[in-house]
Symmetry: C2
Subunit: 354 residues, 2 copies
DNA sequence: AGCATCACAGATAGCGGTATCTATAGAAGA
DNA sequence: TCTTCTATAGATACCGCTATCTGTGATGCT
């Protein structure tokens, strides 16, 4: 009695082989197409495959061939436009390189990140892309380094996207953009407009990205010979709500502030909402600048002056770096940013523009 | 000479077993924890695992155990807030059920969707979740049906999220929300405000979701004894740009329109931008309503009156339905929507509110 | 003491592919 | 004509894990 795939079971190479009257090996060759098979034989096999609706078993294949054609990427939250844009870049590049995407979220929880990277190791992903800022703690840096080494040992590759490598000589690829420079440029823009009391709002303490941004903010102040006032740096989250709350407090405590540099566009949206609620006009009374240039930025009222970050390219580069490695291949890319001037920044009312 | 994992190769069960001085089977039992192992033995094994930094091979496991612990979801574009929110729901539920997420995008291309579903079949995903509206063509319906049957045959499950099942008796689960009812409610709201010439903007021709929405729009007109004017339904894409372009044309051709019902909030953002550019005030001159209630909606100026769609729940239900199937388990869920009234709708200037 | 019962650990056989070697025709060359 | 290729297909041995069966001391019971 001919062996036929029972219901609920998928046909295997052997099933196809039997139906086509050839060996399993021949079918395998037709499927992967990396070995000459005589046209008539190939036709028979293709026919049998179609008849049985055969699909290869990716797990069996990666077990035998030790290559998974899979890249994993780990983000805080898919919902954030920042991550979504990078995700799009990753997905694009991955699929154009014939890879599948594994998606995991950490909700900003370092513990979950640990679990998730472990999961990716189980999956033998070719690359694991960690997106977003890193926590500036020694243990976190140590753990990232451990990830990198563990993945390397497994023949996989860690890619840090939008965060710096924790130490030199680690087997990681990094794709970054110039946070410090961007923050410097935007702060300079505000200073050049005559602002002297500029609040930086939405700083998540101890996150690499913001630390760099604050550094740029400070350097700009120094270069313009404006004293740095620590009380103008307001810690919070990267959310709209945080922007609102921080702004409420800021307006209350520091009515002398004439400009707000929000850590992200999302925070800026919250800032604008809070100011509007309080009857503060933007940019007449207070200027507001953002960071990211997410699609929403130009839809805010007033349209947001912000820093453009090439998110999608960030994602694409991450995959490219991970997949094309070899002698002479780069393993570190720094992408440029630039400020986008819209309508939310203007000189302060009583400004003495230099 | 003791067999040790060579560099570049990951340790296997056998390596751990050898180091712990037990059999591979015992190690397997410790790892999966579904069989009693004497505490001292377990300790030895755990020690060896830690020493070697052992990680199971998910592919080998799913090959042997014939269960992949993976759900796949297929969206048009991760960047769209609509999809991102659903994705979040999917990811949440999946990870809380111990499943991994495979992400694929189709860019609205039915051909790519075909390829992608094939890929998911190769991966033996436990469930494949198709997100977003379906094309209303016979061949598309036929193909969806084919997907459903093929996946069912492989012991997997197709879940349609936000689109109806193409035919009865198909092995699919569906999670929908009431497009027709929501559009009816919103149109009624506009009509009740006194609007009589309401444009529906951003209709992608032949997409199930919009067809349903247009149906609700028409039913509301009928119930309010207002004639349906086909020239007020403007076809386009679900993008901000499309909203802008369609509005430009609309204002030009139909200056008598007093309200615009945008197909999505994203389109509404474009509509608002176009109206603002033309100096048309919202809601004083023209009212605008959206659909989706994405986070951006409340940040628009004026804050957008829109239909709230429970995206995240949609995603969660999709996973739940796919994973918990059995006698008596539901395989179809319809989630409710409701309109969210903000500031973008008001009676028309010369309105005679009934 | 004598035997059934446990609780645990090992042996074995695949899961569904691919790498690699071997076998067998027919074509080509001497 | 006989050997040597070359093109094609088959056989075999894993990849790393789990299901399932078998073995064996220690325990409980009469």
């Amino acid at each position: 009695m001919p062996r036929r795939p029972e219901r609920g079971k998928r046909p295997t190479l052997a099933d196809v082989a039997e139906r086509a009257g050839v060996s399993a090996m021949t079918v395998s060759r037709v499927v992967s197409g990396n070995y000459p098979v005589a046209p008539p034989t190939r036709a028979k096999v293709l026919r049998a495959m179609k008849d049985l609706d055969y699909v290869v078993n990716a797990h069996a294949r990666s077990l035998a061939a030790t290559t998974t054609k899979t890249v994993a990427f780990v983000v805080d939250d898919v919902t954030g436009p920042f991550f979504a844009l990078i995700a799009r870049g990753v997905e694009h590049q991955a699929s154009s390189e014939g890879r599948l995407c594994l998606l995991c979220t950490t909700h900003g929880d370092p513990e979950r990140e640990l679990a998730v990277v472990e999961l990716m190791r189980e999956q033998r992903a070719e690359a694991v892309i960690l997106v977003g800022g890193a926590w500036d703690t020694a243990t976190y840096a140590e753990r990232t380094a451990a990830f990198a080494r563990a993945l390397e040992k497994s023949g996989s590759r860690l890619v840090l996207c939008g965060r710096p490598a924790p130490e030199e000589g680690l087997p990681v690829s990094t794709v970054e953009y110039d946070n410090e420079g961007a923050a410097y440029a935007m702060t300079s823009h505000l200073l050049a407009n005559g602002h002297r009391r500029i609040a930086y709002v939405g700083r998540a303490v101890g996150l690499s990205t913001t630390d760099e941004r604050v550094a740029g903010y400070r350097r700009a102040h120094a270069d313009h010979a404006v004293g740095f006032d620590p009380s103008l740096v307001r810690a919070g989250e990267f959310t709209r709500e945080s922007g609102t709350a921080l702004t409420e407090a800021l307006v209350e405590e520091r009515p002398d502030v004439t400009a707000v540099f929000a850590a992200t566009d999302m925070v800026a949206a919250g800032v604008l909402a809070a100011l509007r609620r309080r009857g503060v006009r933007v940019p007449e009374d207070v200027s507001v600048a953002g960071f990211d240039d997410i699609p929403l930025a130009s839809d805010l009222t007033p349209a947001l002056t912000t820093v453009h970050v090439p998110h999608e390219q960030l994602g694409r580069e991450a995959v490219r770096l991970a997949l094309h490695r070899g002698p002479g291949a780069e393993d570190r890319v720094m992408l440029g940013t630039h400020i986008v001037i819209r309508d939310s920044v203007a000189p302060p009312r009583a400004a003495v523009v230099p």
